[in-house]
Symmetry: C2
Subunit: 165 residues, 2 copies
């Protein structure tokens, strides 16, 4: 516990790369794309927030406005370093980013994730947080690797405290 959620800075890039590489959920290509989003923080609608423990970033989340929508956002990425997992860091990141999105006028978050068995924990994480499965695209990522689409309608009661920024 005790993670401090804050905006990411360019000097956090190594910590983010390490968390992405170590967490085991992402392919090399996915890590490259995730770091492109890190580099795009604040531009092209992407916003990233990190969880800091002991001066190092141990996890982060990336969201962005959905183009051509009034108040929908995507949660593109949420990653916690294995050494910091099961300490509530993911939940702190999720809660904080939902508050941020709410404060920006966002009213729902959409997540696309894998239907693979090894993503079961990730899916349970979102389901327990109120995300509802609203779509399933068979073999989307590759044969046998479906895309599960989750959406959560944000409600004011959940976001009364201060946003991350």
């Amino acid at each position: 516990m005790g993670a401090h959620i804050r905006e990411l800075k360019p000097q956090d890039r190594d910590d983010v790369a390490e968390a992405l590489g170590c967490c085991g959920a992402f392919t090399d290509e996915e890590v490259v794309v995730a770091l492109e989003l890190f580099d795009a923080d604040g531009r092209e609608g992407y916003r990233l927030f990190g969880a800091e423990i002991g001066g190092r970033i141990c996890g982060y989340v990336c969201v962005g406005r959905a183009a051509l929508t009034e108040s929908s956002w995507y949660l593109y990425w949420l990653c916690v370093h294995p050494a910091a997992q099961r300490q509530g860091v993911g939940t702190a990141l999720r809660r904080d980013v939902e508050r941020f999105v709410w404060a920006e006028g966002g009213r729902r978050l959409v997540i696309e994730t894998s239907g693979r068995p090894d993503y079961h924990r990730a899916r349970r994480f979102y389901e327990r947080a109120g995300y509802v499965s609203v779509g399933l695209i068979r073999d989307f990522y590759r044969s046998g690797d479906d895309c599960v689409v989750y959406a959560k309608q944000l409600i004011q009661d959940d976001h009364e405290s201060q946003p991350a920024t």
Copy 2:
């Protein structure tokens, strides 16, 4: 009938803008985004094809590879000028772009479109062409304007003839 499907050139921009503006399906903001994709043709993974009748482009389609997938593509945009509708132009564009995607190694197309009543004809167009509704994100575009996600698994028999390029 008799539309010739071909790659778009920069000088087709006015025809494309007119088709987008006249077809009545798109907001001003959507037209701006669609023209950004026109300007991005060939870059960032976007590919556009137009339907030419009598030397003018009367409709076009825009597709792109889905990042981090092995063989999934998005169909972002398909628009036919009202004066050219109900002549098979949309079907010619769809068929040709499916052949193109197949030839590029794509094996499925995903379309996100509106669930609004005035998009009924568009949804029927895709459903008749074998696109299956695989997701529904309530209020995605704005309150009362859902996102319907369609997917079609491409099969070889449909794409034996030559691709557009």
